[in-house]
Amino acid sequence: MPDTQELRINGKTVRVEADRDRTLLGVLRDDLGLTGSKYGCGEGRCGACTVMIDGAPARSCITKLGAVASREVTTIEGLERDGKLHPLQQAFLDAGAMQCAYCTSGMIVAGAALLRQNPSPSRQDIVEYMDGNICRCGTYHRIIAAIQSAARAVKEASR
């Protein structure tokens, strides 16, 4: 039976009525209308569904709703602040780091989590951290360039 649960999504408290064993991805998309996170594989192997949970990247397609109670969930919709894109969103645009862009949400969320953890990642750091995210269009090295340029932008802005 559905339980009522309080969730913290993109800085807001929201109440959902949903089974605790439903996937976080399903609840985000179908119940909360946050469709930026995508289904790509259902086994946590493509990264299209990546969200941050307490700042760390997580595969929402294999995360049960019950596991995120009282934890801070950030989706792609939560990265933009006051109409201003997250530096990595801007960097993706500047680098043209997408084609069909279906992987883009997951890539940006994963990349943003990386930058939180490591503000100056090397190419190798990026490759290792991002290896679980698939871009079938093959724009990987543009994504690497976008993450590097966002890292530089953040550093310059904080100077």
Binding site: G33, K38, Y39, G40, E43, G96, Q99, C100, A101
Partner: protein, 736 residues
């Protein structure tokens, strides 16, 4: 064959559908009438420009229904009448209507550039309405790299005609000399006085219609200021914010979720179904219609539970296995179509000639080889998805497909509804690569929605996408060749079994030639894939050419240049070799390789450097350089993006992608079991674009994929002395 260069002045070529687009044959052809004048009325005042495909048809406005000639294989359905239209409203709003679909190749951007270029407006002033069967003119589909050579040229012409018409009107209004008028920033400007009249104002409440054809003059590429330059992806912001609604993101009021029961194995047939447990679940609806069994429920989770509760008995089909694949493809049972050559068939510039026996007798060295090509999956990251809604007997489906009108046809056929009552809308889609030419999810969702009397969303699981979509055809390629010590090729015999005829012809001079494609019977469902069989045929040919060069001790680049006839192929080869630094000796356990090819009017050469780890067997491509010529470049950055993406995607089929199947079941229908290129696989990439302003642009999404596999194979051969003749080459690493 597509070797001759395309002149910008030539009429639009008649589209021809390649043999190996098997999925297109699965669909019946239709001939329905449609009156779309209602939509044209709905446009309101302003200037409407219709691009006519058929100059013989003066009454195109009533006929843009997509009439298609019925016919066999080679008589492809030809869309007629209106190929595109463009409207400039009284408010100055510019709307362009095309049946092409955006699937990541960034044609929404390149087509917007074409219109903005000719209308002398910023790109932001143009709205592109795409791939909606109710709003846009018929289009056969977004495949074959035809958008740039066909649709872009049409839109250049429609927009140029609109601009000239507006200048005519201004000249009349002002009683001015036409030569003192110019179009600029959405207005006609009188250069002598500085007066300006906005496009919207010029039409002054009238409804004007102009028709244009292919001979309308357009801005030459040398004078382009918007086309030919970088432009950011249109709507880019909606993609980086997650706001863009793909098909799977569409939500409709009262919408429920559907799931479809799949057979446990290929070719299994349904014997009996017990769905009582599912039917007993509250709010669950079970649909049984012949072999179709599906469920609808208020949530996806409940739909999945209901589906799992269905007990079905199946009669298994033949226990097909990949172990027998290549033997069976070469020795098929009764064949339907006769063998024929590639595009253009025999008798083209490289058709059969002379005698293979004579050629081999004249050779100093013979070389034979058999190459095998595995089935691979497109695995678009957005799986097949559709939302279907019936209202007042009309069906609307949102779905990701490269053929909205083809899918409309499938729906009309499945539900016996007329064309006017079916609408297919294609939101910009999560890629296709040739894999989304069909409407499975659309038909299934529509069947479920009709039963449920509410909108239904159906998203295929990754396993379904890997199992029930069609694959790139597997194949066996046999080559026999002879060469003289001076580097002249005396014999070239090439047989492709099943994988397809695209790119089968030999671009090298060879006095005696026999080239053939032999259709077969495929155990798995197969169909189009980016560049079709060209990738397989280039892999085999360019690997074999390399071996011929080595056999006579000639540098592979020199050998190719000696035998290549086409200047554009020679040019890309030279450009790639120069940028790569061909000739430098690689470090130990590294190797370098080169390959060249042509497809869809484009020319590509790729150089690759690989590193082979002898202890782990890992083969890593450390560097790849491609030179590409597809005529006048429309958007350099997006073109580079396509070339880079094709290189990366091509690495998958070259090195590790293969569909495994046994006992009628796909064994690796998941990303955890089916290895696609990932971040760690990406080489350093350099792309050299050859911008030929004098040649009309060809499409670019496909061709750059054809040379990477042989370049890597040749590099592995260079590093290890081992010639790998199967695609994928190293699914389990390389033991040397």
């Amino acid at each position: 064959m597509n070797l001759p260069t395309e002149s910008p002045d030539l009429a639009e070529p008649t589209p021809e559908i390649e043999f190996e687009r098997y999925e297109l044959r699965e669909e019946p052809a239709y001939h329905f009438a449609l009156d779309r004048r209602d939509f044209l009325k709905g446009l309101g005042g302003g200037l409407l420009v219709l691009y006519l495909l058929d100059r013989e048809s003066p009454d195109a406005e009533a006929q843009e229904s997509g009439r298609r000639r019925r016919g066999g294989f080679n008589r492809a359905p030809v869309p007629q009448d209106v190929g595109a239209w463009l409207h400039i409203g009284e408010d100055g709003k510019i709307s362009v209507f095309t049946g092409k679909a955006e699937v990541g190749q960034n044609i929404r951007t390149s087509l917007t550039q074409a219109v903005a270029e000719e209308l002398r407006v910023p790109m932001s002033a143009v709205t592109m309405v795409m791939a909606d069967t109710r709003l846009t003119p018929f289009d056969m589909g977004t495949f074959g790299s035809r958008t740039t050579p066909d649709m872009s040229r049409r839109l250049h012409r429609a927009a140029a005609a609109a601009r000239e018409t507006l200048i005519d009107i201004a000249a009349e209004t002002w009683k001015a000399d036409r030569k003192d008028l110019a179009a600029k920033d959405g207005a006609v400007v009188q250069t002598t006085t500085g007066d300006r009249l906005a496009y919207g104002k010029l039409t002054g409440g009238r409804k004007l219609t102009r028709t244009v054809t292919d001979d309308t003059p357009v801005t030459p590429a040398e004078r382009w200021t918007i086309s030919g330059h970088d432009a950011a992806k249109v709507d880019g912001r909606s993609f980086v914010t997650g706001a863009h609604p793909y098909s799977c993101d569409i939500r409709r009021p009262g919408m429920w979720y559907g799931k479809v029961l799949r057979p446990p194995t290929y070719h299994a047939s349904l014997v009996s179904v017990d769905s009582s447990a599912a039917q007993a679940m509250p709010d669950v609806k079970v649909v049984r219609d012949g072999d179709f069994v599906g469920v609808v429920a208020p949530s996806e989770q409940l739909a999945a539970r209901a589906l799992a509760a269905i007990r079905a008995e199946w009669k298994p089909g033949p226990a097909i296995s990949d172990r027998d694949l290549f033997r069976d493809l070469k020795n098929p049972g009764g064949q339907r179509p006769p063998a024929r050559g590639g595009r253009g068939g025999f008798g083209g510039p490289n058709g059969n000639a002379g005698s293979i026996a004579d050629g081999l007798a004249a050779a100093d060295v013979h070389s034979e080889g058999t190459y095998t090509i595995a089935y691979i999956a497109h695995a678009p990251l957005e799986p097949r998805a559709a939302v279907a809604e019936w209202a007042n007997g009309e069906l609307t489906v949102w779905t990701g497909t490269q053929r909205p009108f083809g899918v409309r046809g499938e729906l009309m056929d499945a539900f016996k509804v007329p064309e006017a009552r079916v609408r297919v809308i294609v939101p910009d889609t999560g890629s296709g690569y040739g894999g989304k030419h069909t409407g499975e999810a659309a038909v299934e969702a529509a069947r479920l929605a009709r039963e449920a009397s509410r909108p239904v969303k159906l998203v295929w699981t990754r396993e379904e996408e890997f199992t029930w979509a069609y694959f790139r055809p597997a194949g066996v390629i046999e080559i026999r060749a002879g060469v003289k010590k001076d580097g002249s090729i005396t014999a070239w015999e090439f047989h492709n079994h099943n994988s397809g005829g695209s790119g089968v012809q030999c671009p090298y001079r060879a006095a005696n030639q026999a080239v053939a494609f032999h259709p077969s019977q495929s155990p798995l469902r197969q169909g189009s894939y980016r560049a079709l069989a060209s990738t397989a045929n280039h892999f085999a040919r360019e690997s074999h050419i390399d071996d011929l060069a080595r056999a006579i001790g000639m540098d592979p680049l020199e050998f190719r240049l000696k035998n290549l006839k086409d200047e554009r192929m020679r040019d890309v080869l030279t450009a790639a070799a120069r940028a790569f630094g061909w000739g430098r000796k690689p470090e130990s356990d590294h190797g370098i390789g080169i390959a060249v090819g042509t497809e869809k009017g484009g020319f590509v050469a790729t150089c690759a450097e690989v590193a082979v780890d002898r202890s782990s067997g890992r083969v890593h491509v450390v560097r790849a350089v491609s030179a590409f010529d597809c005529g006048a470049v429309v958007n350099p950055d997006h073109l580079k993006n396509q070339v880079e993406g094709a290189l990366v995607m091509g690495l998958g089929g070259a090195l590790y992608e293969a569909i495994a199947f046994d006992n009628g079941k796909i064994q690796n229908p998941k990303f955890s079991k089916y290895r696609v290129p990932r971040f760690r696989d990406v080489p350093e990439i350099e792309v050299v674009l050859i911008d030929r302003k004098d040649v009309a642009p060809a499409g670019a999404g496909e061709t750059p994929i054809v040379a990477i596999a042989p370049a890597v194979g040749n590099a592995i051969r260079n590093a290890t002395g081992v010639r790998l003749r199967s695609m994928p080459m190293v699914p389990r690493g390389l033991k040397v």
